[in-house]
């Protein structure tokens, strides 16, 4: 793949970059949250459009644009997904923001920058671009989490996230450095090629890979490195949590897929075992922690740990090249299904706490009687929870089915057992919320109004989750072309 200068292939990155600077200038010229929000939305939609229409390389293998970025179908799909999710988060924070603080403009700017980082990550196929994308996203998120300045937990959450993800990035970098030392190259495909002539011995290269995996798995909040997740999700504002739980997880995951798949690091000693252990641990720990959780945000945080555990299964399956294509497909579909479901879940909390000064009422009791107070929102939450639980007719089920198929094709019985056990435990706490929503509404002070825009967002998310669950064939065909 000779790196060609055809920059049209990475149009979304360009649009976002230029867009971000334009919005900065606009904020400098005139500060008004409505205007900034409108322009951010404009940029995001433009990027979304560009990723869908312009610069579609010939299907299949994709094309390296400068050794740093790899423009293929997967990158385009995730670029579109990230822009769409960011747009939804922007819409969700419309009523949420006024209560936060008077200067809302920087909030949208940070969101835009975080999305840019995520999209770069989606395209990254080189250590440098990975580093840049990851850090750009993370730093933007630190500020976003700490945005509600008058509220103490926000600052605490941001600090915890900053310090710990800083450590993780350092580990990641140290791993890459060792790999660079061993193989002499930084682009993922060359790393794989350079493995045979590795100068530092396979043990060190294996440790280097594992360091990289640990760094990324911290960002994905996989099991042993998950302790920060509930605190950060609870402390940060609901729309930011939505962004954090979806885009900030899917982007590193895509980068990890591209890194492990292109660099063929699976046959290094111990790498596959580590990935298996992380997956099983995340599935069990995530579900068990969420079992009796009263706070919905913390419960969804633990549930996202569990879901990352389910997704990590595909790496163990992908170790065997025969099943790699199916594993890749499963991972992509699972992420695409996971993103709208989680946005819907956290989005609901945002919609239910308008004008909050950042400290959301997110207890399970607060949602009691939602069926009768606002059926539209209740259906959204019901569909989201059923999708998280993997009940049919929702995107979550097709995603889980994909995982079953992938694991069965590689006959990884331990992983399958953990998957079944995890989802079995999982049903309980998803049902608990549904049960609370169906009971008589307890008298409490949570009141909110839903205007046309918000109803449209809710409807869009519901249709997305059910649509992916009922007619997934189109997306499946597209994904199948990627591997």
């Amino acid at each position: 793949m000779t790196p060609s200068a055809d920059f049209s292939l990475i149009m979304p990155v360009i649009v976002l970059g230029v867009g971000a600077t334009a919005v900065m200038l606009q904020v400098a010229a005139r500060r008004s949250p409505e205007l900034t929000r409108f322009s951010t939305l404009l940029v995001l939609i433009a990027a979304l459009a560009s990723s869908v229409w312009i610069g579609s390389p010939e299907p299949g293998i994709g094309q390296a644009v400068t050794p740093l970025l790899q423009a293929d179908d997967m990158a385009r799909l995730f670029a579109a997904l990230f822009c769409a999710s960011a747009a939804l988060c922007v819409m969700l924070s419309r009523d949420y923001l006024p209560g936060l603080s008077d200067q809302g403009d920087e909030y949208y700017l940070l969101l835009l920058l975080a999305t840019l980082g995520a999209v770069v990550l989606a395209y990254a196929s080189h250590v440098a671009s990975l580093l840049l994308g990851l850090e750009l996203m993370s730093v933007a998120l630190y500020a976003l989490i700490a945005y509600p300045s008058r509220v103490a937990p926000a600052a605490e959450a941001a600090t915890k996230y900053l310090v710990l993800s800083g450590g993780a990035s350092a580990t990641l970098l140290f791993g890459f450095a060792l790999l660079y030392a061993a193989t002499g190259s930084l682009a993922f495909p060359e790393i794989g090629a350079g493995l045979q002539s590795a100068t530092l011995g396979s043990a060190v290269t294996a440790i280097a890979t594992v360091l990289v995996i640990t760094g990324v798995c911290f960002k994905l909040s996989a099991a042993p490195f998950h302790l920060w997740t509930p605190d950060v999700y609870e402390g940060s504002p609901a729309p930011v949590t939505a962004f954090l739980a979806t885009v900030a997880k899917a982007a590193p995951f895509v980068a990890l897929i591209r890194f492990l798949f292109d660099a063929q690091l699976f046959d290094l000693p111990g790498v596959v075992e580590v990935l298996g252990v992380l997956a099983v641990l995340s599935m069990l720990v995530g579900n068990l922690l969420a079992l009796l959780q009263r706070n919905v945000k913390r419960m969804l945080a633990y549930s996202s740990i569990a879901h990352i555990g389910y997704a990590l299964i595909i790496f163990t399956v992908a170790a065997d090249p025969v099943n790699r294509a199916l594993a890749g497909e499963a991972a992509v579909f699972y992420l695409v299904a996971y993103v709208p479901t989680t946005i819907a879940a956290f989005g609901l909390l945002a919609l239910v706490n308008p004008g909050g000064e950042g400290q959301d009422h997110a207890e399970v009791q607060d949602l009691s009687g939602l069926f009768w107070r606002d059926p539209m929102l209740a259906i959204l939450m019901l569909v989201a929870l059923l999708s998280l639980a993997g009940i049919p007719l929702t995107a979550g089920f097709i995603g889980k089915f994909y995982l079953f198929a992938a694991a069965v094709s590689g006959s990884h019985w331990v992983l399958l057992a953990a998957l079944v056990l995890g989802s079995a435990i999982g049903i309980y706490y998803y049902l608990r919320v549904i049960f609370q929503m169906s009971q008589k509404p307890a008298e409490h002070e949570l009141t909110w109004t839903m205007d046309g825009g918000m109803r449209a967002v809710a409807l869009l998310l519901t249709v997305a989750i059910l649509g992916l669950g009922i007619v997934p064939q189109a997306l499946m065909e597209y994904i199948r072309g990627m591997f």
Binding site: K160, S202, I207, V210, T214, P224, F225, L227, V274, L288
Partner: protein
């Protein structure tokens, strides 16, 4: 022809349905006409069949519709009328009709009059189905149908929980027998491939060798069913308690018809039993043991109906004895005569309690001879027939049984001796009842006299009890001909003399040495009387072995013990949750430490698997 046959059980069934549906709307008189009339009509139809059979004894069969046919099993709603069926049908509808007429007056004041007649008609319909059935499955339908009606009728006055308990006991104990019989049917079908009676008998003769395990097993199970329904040892404990129902019910069900179903079954399937001699002797021994136990228990009973109940058990014991020794026709003959005099006795007892405002204890009656002449006459003839005094119906049938028992090979004389002892006890308790209740000075004054609807059936039954012995049943060709047993004259004279001896003893014990008023507590004074009174304490044994263990087991399991396992799983999950949640201390340094620990662990995994 089908319609005429179908009408016989159909009419009572139809009237039962009408009574159930519109019972509350129609007046009592119409209810009575409907109830008694339907049985009367079917009695007329049966009479027609009887006459037709008498002049040209040909088997009549009719198939209404195939009930079910699956793979190689098929059963139809079909009737098979031969000599035995005709006799049984005439007994059922004849005696049944009389009892229905009697109940019209007996139950006139009862507030659920139509419900009573609905159940009675349903019973007669089911019993007719039982005897007319061409295959064992339809027989089983009638079999359980009568069981159900007995439950409904015994528990008729449902307000008193004791009646409900007695009804439930009756149903459950007979249901044990039915379960055994069902197993018998399965053995028969699996081994011989059909449940239709006639083909079954042919197939059995073809491929069963005498005394084989399958014949014995099948017949033993059928015997289990018969024992349950006919209240023989060991499933007899329900009959004495079943007296909780109205007296005509006891007359119909617990004397004339239902309890004889077991005898009919063994007689109908005698072909199978002949192929299993072991079971046949078992039938004889069951009969003998039951007749002795019941007769001894009847000696000390004080309630007029319980005496008759135990007497029924013992008389059916005689029928089983007859069947056991191969004298099938004598068994059926005794069945018919017993139906006459036992129905007479029960209806008489009903009349007594009806007139003495529900007084049942014979020691509180006395001196009824002059006040209730009709009742006294019926009791006199009934007791005579029961005790098998010469020239009564009972004499011919019981004498036949005793003599054919004597001629049985091997254990014959022992059976005869036992039967004789039974006959002695029977005559003692039957005349004890007569002398205590109808002689001596009166203790309670009857407040009314039995009206015509009660008197006429009594008189007819008196006639039948006297002349019944002369009826010759058209059974040749259906059952093996027992012929007149050749027995030394001495044995004959002893068989005739013993009942008279019993009467003499009873006269001496209860007229000459008139005992004081009723003994202190119900069980009589001596421990032997207590033991006999409680029917050899078989009931207490069953309670100890079966009923209380079942109840305690149920109470232990009420809280669903299997849930403990699932609750264990739930608490394990909760434990893991609390363990992991404790890690979430919120301290940043602790999170960093866990990150490092995780890192070290991961590197360790790599080093462990690295070469």
């Amino acid at each position: 022809m089908n319609l005429a046959l179908a009408a016989i059980p159909g009419l009572p069934m139809l009237s039962a349905t009408l009574l159930i549906l519109f019972g509350r709307q129609i007046p009592r008189s119409l209810g009575a006409v409907l109830g008694a009339g339907s049985v009367g009509l079917s009695a007329v139809l049966v009479a027609g069949q009887l006459l037709a059979y008498l002049d040209t004894p040909t088997v009549v069969t009719a198939t209404l519709w195939t009930w079910m046919s699956v793979a190689d099993f098929s059963a139809a709603i079909a009737f098979h009328i031969d000599g035995l069926t005709v006799v049984m049908m005439s007994v059922i509808t004849g005696v049944g009709f009389l009892i229905h007429v009697y109940s019209v007056e007996f139950m006139w004041e009862d507030e659920s009059f139509s419900r009573y007649f609905a159940y009675m008609n349903l019973f007669v319909g089911s019993m007719l189905l039982l005897v007319m059935a061409d295959n064992l499955l339809l027989l089983f339908l009638g079999w359980e149908g009568v069981g159900m009606c007995s439950y409904l009728l015994v528990g008729f006055w449902y307000k008193n929980p004791a009646n409900g308990a007695a009804a439930r006991k009756a149903f459950v104990v007979t249901r044990v027998g039915d379960a055994l019989m069902a197993l018998g049917l399965f053995v028969l079908f699996t081994d011989l491939g059909t449940l239709d009676i006639q083909p079954l008998l042919l197939a059995a003769n073809l491929n069963w060798e005498v005394g084989g395990t399958v014949p014995v097993l099948a017949t033993a199970l059928l015997l289990g069913g018969a024992v349950g329904k006919s209240a023989q040892l060991p499933l007899h404990t329900w009959l004495p308690d079943a007296m909780a129902g109205p007296t005509p019910v006891s007359a119909l069900i617990h004397a004339a018809t239902m309890v004889t179903a077991g005898v009919y079954l063994v007689a109908r399937l005698h072909g199978l039993f002949l192929l299993a001699p072991a079971t046949l002797t078992a039938v004889a021994w069951v009969g003998l043991a039951t007749l002795l136990l019941a007769a001894s228990a009847a000696l000390v009973q004080q309630d007029i109906k319980r005496i008759l109940a135990y007497s029924t058990i013992s008389q059916i014991g005689y029928m089983f004895l007859a069947l056991g020794v191969g004298a099938f026709s004598f068994g059926i003959f005794h069945l018919m005569t017993h139906a006459f005099f036992k129905a007479l006795l029960f209806l008489g007892a009903g009349a007594v309690s009806h007139c003495l405002h529900h007084e049942l204890n014979i020691f509180r009656m006395g001196g009824l001879r002059t006040r209730l002449p009709v009742v006294f006459l019926s009791f006199l003839i009934g007791s005579a027939a029961l005790a098998a005094l010469p020239f009564t119906a009972g004499f011919y049938s019981k004498d036949g049984i005793l003599l054919s028992a004597f001629t049985a090979p091997g254990i014959g004389p022992w059976l005869w001796a036992g039967g004789l002892l039974g006959a002695l006890l029977t005559s003692i308790y039957s005349f004890r009842l007569l002398f205590v209740a109808f002689f001596g000075e009166a203790q309670t004054e009857p407040d009314r006299k039995p009206g015509l609807p009660m008197a006429i059936p009594l008189l007819i039954l008196c006639a039948l009890s006297l002349l019944g012995g002369l009826i010759s049943q058209p059974l040749d060709g259906v059952l093996p001909d027992a012929g007149h047993p050749q027995v030394p004259h001495l044995i004959e004279w002893i068989s005739i003399g013993v009942p008279l001896l019993g009467v003499a003893y009873a006269y001496y014990a209860y007229i000459v040495r008139r005992p004081s008023s009723s003994p202190a507590e119900a069980g009589g004074d001596s421990p032997v009387e207590g033991f006999l009174f409680a029917g050899w304490r078989v009931d207490a044994l069953y309670n100890l072995l079966l009923v209380t263990p079942y109840r305690t087991l149920a109470r232990w399991c009420q809280g669903e013990p299997i849930d403990h396992f699932y609750n264990g799983v739930v608490s394990l999950n909760r434990l893991c949750h609390r363990g992991l949640a404790a890690l979430q201390t919120g301290e940043l340094r602790w999170y960093a430490t866990t990150f490092v620990i995780g890192l070290i662990a991961v590197v360790a995994i790599v080093l462990r698997s690295a070469p």
